[in-house]
Each structure stands twice: as C-alpha cells, then as structure tokens.
C-alpha cells in the first residue's frame, strides 16, 4: 500500500517542534507537558527540540519554557500576535515550517491547538493525528502516532510516511510535565514573518474569564467524583457535588450523562471530553465504555460504584462497591461527615509530599 504523494524529500526535514500555547503571558500546562514528550522524541531521533512561540513581549516566557527541556525557542514578536488568532498564527506557523522544515510538530489538543492545527494541515497538505496518547518511532524513523481508534475499543497506530512535517495533537494531562529547571540554558531566536494588516481577519472583541466560583475544575482536582447514566437525572448530581465538597474534590460526568442534558459538556471526561489523572477517581453509575476509560484510566486510584457487578469499569477498579448508588453515595456522605465530626480526620486528598 502506498500512501500519498511525497510533497518533498523527507530527508530534508529535521528537528522536533512544540507549539507553545499561552494566555496572559503564562505558558499553558499542555505545552509544558508536550515539551517533556518532545524531549524524549528528539532524543530518540537524535535531533533538537524547538519551542515555537508567536506572541508579543514573550521573551521571558521563552526563557521560562526552556527550563522544561527545550534546546531553543523561536520567538515571533508582533503586536498582532498578542493573543491567539487563527489566521495570523497559522501564517506564522506555515512560514516557519516551510523555512526550517521540522520533521515533527506537536500541538496541544486544546481549542486553539485544534483551530490552528486543523487550518495548518490543510494549508501544508500534511498529516495531523488528533488526540494522541502515546508516541513511538518506527524502524524507518517515522513517528508512530498512537490514538484511540474510532470506536474507542482499540488503539490505532497512525503513520505519516511520505509527508513532512508529521503533526500530532495531545490533550492536556496525557503526559506529565517534566520538572522545571530554571538553570537550563537554551537559545532564544527571534525571527520575523511577513504579516500584513490583512492577516488580521477577525477581531477579539471581548474575553470573559471563567470564574473559579463555579467550583474546582476536574482537571485541577486531586479527587474527582464522576457521574454516569446511572444517575438518571440532573438533580441527582447534587448528591455527587455534596460528596465531592466533603472530599475537597470536583464533579465530572460521563458522555451519556452529558448527552442526556443533565450536566454541561465542560465537565465531560473521556475520549470526546477531558482527560483527568487525579489521585482518586470515584465513578458513580458509570458502566465504563472504552471512550470513558481513555479519559480517566491514568488516575492513581479508581473506585467504582455500580449496581451491575458486570459493569466493565470494575475491571480497572482498585476498589468497587456493588450496590445501589442511591444508597451507597448517601451512606458515604454520612460516614465521611461522621469521621470529620470526630475532629481527627480531614477527608481530603493526602498531599503528595506527605505520601
């Protein structure tokens, strides 16, 4: 089988790149996590790791990013690039990629990462594998891009053999950010890219940051209490919130609960939602489709509460309770309250440092 017409001799392409995402001069978590994996791939390929940072006034951010393991950062500084915008950013990336010919470019599978990667891969006519969970390098030196397959029941190995760069996106929390080394040295290279006012084809009129008052987000929480189809109604999520509050955790949900309209998609865990890796994941009334596993199987401890002893999620449980969630969850709340009332017990995640 052949796949695709080669655009250009792939031996001309060298180096691993990571697109560095930022907001308000802060590096996004997913970018730090990608630097760690990019470092591993660059070492495997015996090449360099470059961060690409379009922005405005981002030199400090570039130097900070090096501390996660970059060899160099390409900074493109222009007031037009202060905040992410589809066309200017894709212009910058397309020009830099054509100029330097990296063999691999990694993006966060965030809203902006998909917005950029989707536009860019069509412009560059090269492959882009979404939501990769693992990478490898094959015998011919191609990037083996591993992602949940369409049905979610298996992992597909995606290759982009004849086109370069090989591009892939990765969700937040799939990889763990490497420790930051402020003494690490690397090069900050300032490059210019042709941008005209015509490239500003859309204006950001307003940005309203989500307040944290909506409660702790599942992606940040040490303990996640997640509800599925077994909850039966949106009002029953109040019970999970109560349990989460007692534990200092956050509430999440399976796709079935979201599709049923009980809770917003923002808290969906799984292949088409977010990936979490908390210290404790409590799955309540979730049978455990493989798509759901994709979003939580890296949790340190998994507790499953389900009426059906054959629920697939029990297979990856550290602890499980077979029982009616409408009896089990209130009982958990009752016992946790009682434990807390003794004063000797704070029912929250044990800090990592204490373990």
């Amino acid at each position: 089988m052949t796949d695709g017409h080669p655009v250009e001799d792939k031996s001309h392409f060298h180096g691993v790149w990571v697109f560095l995402e930022h907001r308000k001069l802060g590096l996004r978590d997913v970018s730090a996590q990608l630097i760690g994996e990019g470092r591993r791939l660059a070492d495997l390929r015996g090449t360099t790791l470059t961060g690409v940072l379009p922005g405005h006034g981002v030199d400090d951010l570039a130097r900070h990013a090096i501390g996660y393991g970059l060899d160099r950062v390409i900074v493109v500084d222009d007031p037009i690039l202060e905040t992410y915008a589809s066309r200017p950013y894709s212009q910058v990336m397309a020009q830099l990629i054509r100029r330097h010919k990296p063999e691999i470019v990694l993006y966060g599978a965030s809203k902006n990462g998909r917005d950029l990667g989707g536009r860019l891969h069509a412009i560059l006519e090269t492959g882009l594998a979404a939501d990769c969970v693992k990478f490898d390098v094959d015998a011919e030196g191609n990037l083996d891009m591993i992602r949940p397959s369409f049905g979610g029941k298996s992992l597909a190995h995606i290759l982009c053999k004849k086109h370069r760069p090989q591009m892939a996106s990765v969700r937040r929390n799939v990889f763990v950010a490497p420790p930051h080394d402020p003494t690490r040295t690397g090069e900050v290279v300032r490059e210019t890219v042709t941008l005209t006012p015509a490239d500003v084809d859309a204006a950001l009129l307003e940005f309203e940051e989500f307040t944290k008052e909506g409660g702790l987000q599942p992606e940040q929480a040490d303990i996640v209490v997640s509800g599925g189809y077994g909850l039966g109604d949106s009002k029953n999520f109040a019970m999970l919130q109560e349990l989460a509050d007692l534990l200092g955790g956050a509430v999440a949900a399976s796709r079935k609960a979201v599709d049923s309209g009980w809770v917003p998609k923002m808290i969906q865990v799984g292949q088409t939602g977010m990936t979490v890796r908390p210290k404790l994941y409590i799955a309540v009334g979730i049978s455990g489709a493989v798509q759901h596993l994709a979003g939580m199987q890296e949790s340190d401890k998994i507790v499953v509460i389900n009426l059906d002893p054959k629920a697939p999620l029990f297979e990856i449980a550290d602890y499980g309770i077979v029982g009616d969630l409408f009896e089990v969850v209130p009982e958990m709340i009752r016992q946790l309250r009682a434990l807390r009332a003794t004063g000797a017990f704070v029912p929250q995640a044990v800090p990592a440092a204490a373990r």
């Binding site: 796949d3 017409h5 907001r23 589809s86 809203k111 950029l116 989707g118 536009r119 860019l120 891969h121 069509a122 090269t126 492959g127 882009l128 979404a130 939501d131 094959d138 049905g151 029941k153 992992l155 597909a156 190995h157 995606i158 290759l159 982009c160 086109h163 859309a202 204006a203 009129l205 307003e206 534990l247 979201v258 998609k265 292949q271 088409t272 210290k279 493989v290 401890k301 998994i302 507790v303 029990f314 449980a317 550290d318 602890y319 309770i321 077979v322 029982g323 009616d324 089990v328 009982e331 958990m332 016992q335 946790l336 434990l339 017990f345 704070v346 929250q348 995640a349 800090p351 204490a354």
Partner: protein, 247 residues
C-alpha cells in the same frame, strides 16, 4: 446574506446526523428564521447519507448536496477538507459556512478549520452563539478558560459547539417538500472538478498502520458487596490505609 452553506461532515450512522452537525444545522435554520437566508446542506459520503440529507431538508434546509464518489473512500482530513472546499466553491455564493465542532466518531475537529484554510476565509471555532451585526459575523466562542466574542467579515466559516442548541424536528411541510423530491443533488468528483490524485485512501497523508486492542492496566480490584453501610466502611478504611484520603 444569501445563501448559507452548511457542511455536514461524515455521518457515522446512515440514518443519523452527526450530533454536533445537527447543532450546526439548527444554528443555520435559526439564522434563516431571523434573516430569511437560504440554507444549503452539504455532505460527503455514500448515497446511504440521503436519509440524513432528506431529514435536514424536512427540518427546514432549502436543499442538500451530497458529494459521493467511490474514489473518495478512505480519505483522511486533508483530502476531505480539499474535496468539500471544491464542492463549496461549485455551489458558490456562500456567506457563512457552518460545521459541527467535530464528528462524534473520529472527533478530530480538523475538517472545519481545514476547509477555512483551503478557501482562505476567516474562521471562528467552537461558536455557541452567532449574530449578524452590520453585515459582520459576531460569534461567542467557548475556550477552556473563558468566553470570547469574535467579529469577522463574510464569507467565513464557523464551527458550532456541540450541544449549544436543541435541533428541531422535521415539519410536516418539510416532509412534503422532501416527498416531492429533487432537493437532494448528487455530485461526483468529476462533476465538481476534484483532482482524483488528491483524494481517497492512497492520497491521504496518514494511514492506520495497525490497530491494537486496549490492554487495561491491572488493578488490585477489591470489590465490596452487601449492606451499603458495611461496604462503605470497608472502602473508606481502605482509602485511608492507602493514604489516598485523610490527614
């Protein structure tokens, strides 16, 4: 504003519109309700998709176009975005292209922005609300950390947030329009002028080299059953003993 072209991406189940695309269609129909514009539905795939395209017309779309050709089979997102872009240009006269944010099967979300890249038009992704103000498009975009309001000129492309509205049911008059026929057009690649060397499995940059079954990490798997009070007591004791909770 006339007409609105609506792209429906691949439909996983023949009789069902990809749910995010149904939200995009509803968004288009709401704009039609307010502004009286034309809504054209576009999809690419086998003729079994007709059922979905007819449903879209019965919901209120003016007409549908299906790009259908054996040589398109196995196309990844690069040829798909290319072929849809060519078809959109053949339909012509569009102001606003709406796509679902992603398919619920492959869920890449790459085709919408890919079309915008091919056509070189502005894009706003993950829009949950779209207004036409002074001939411009204003869209509310949901990012991970907040809500953005973007404004851009037409023609442009927006991808629509999954679940941002409730797609309407087909109407009786809509069904009658479908019965009369002639509102679903089939085009081949040759009809559109799509380069056969740029589409299909063999002209896609990516291939699926192999598929592994998922091996789940083994866990200790202590399962408690019986009286909830006793089960919960054992569970909490285990979590405390493991130093997962408690301090």
């Amino acid at each position: 504003m006339d007409p609105v072209t609506q792209t429906l991406k691949r439909v996983g189940v023949p009789s069902e519109i990809n749910p995010p695309d149904a939200n995009a269609l509803e968004m288009a129909l709401q704009l039609k309700d307010r502004l009286g514009t034309e809504v054209v539905v576009l999809s690419m795939g086998p003729t079994s998709f007709d059922e979905s395209l007819e449903r879209a017309v019965a919901m209120g779309a003016d007409r549908s176009v299906l790009l259908t050709d054996r040589i398109l089979g196995g196309s990844d997102t690069v040829p798909t975005a290319y072929a849809l872009s060519e078809t959109i240009q053949k339909i012509g006269g569009y102001d606003l292209l709406l796509c679902g944010e992603e398919t619920t099967d492959a869920s890449t979300g790459h085709v919408g922005p890919g079309i915008a890249g091919h056509l070189d038009v502005p894009q706003i992704t993950y829009a949950s609300e779209i207004r036409i103000v002074d001939g411009k498009v204003r869209a509310r975009r949901t990012a991970e950390d907040g809500t953005e309001w973007w404004e851009t000129t037409m023609p442009c492309l927006c991808t629509v947030n999954f679940g941002c509205n409730r797609p309407r049911e087909p109407t009786l008059t809509g069904k009658i329009r479908v019965k009369r026929g002639g509102l679903v057009t089939h085009w081949s690649c040759a009809d559109v002028g799509i380069d056969p060397k740029k589409v299909g499995l063999f002209n896609s940059p990516t291939i699926v080299a192999k598929v592994d079954t998922v091996r789940l990490p083994s866990r200790s798997g202590q399962i408690f059953s019986g009286e909830p009070e006793e089960s919960v007591r054992k569970l909490l004791a285990s979590l405390v003993a493991d130093r997962v909770i408690g301090a």
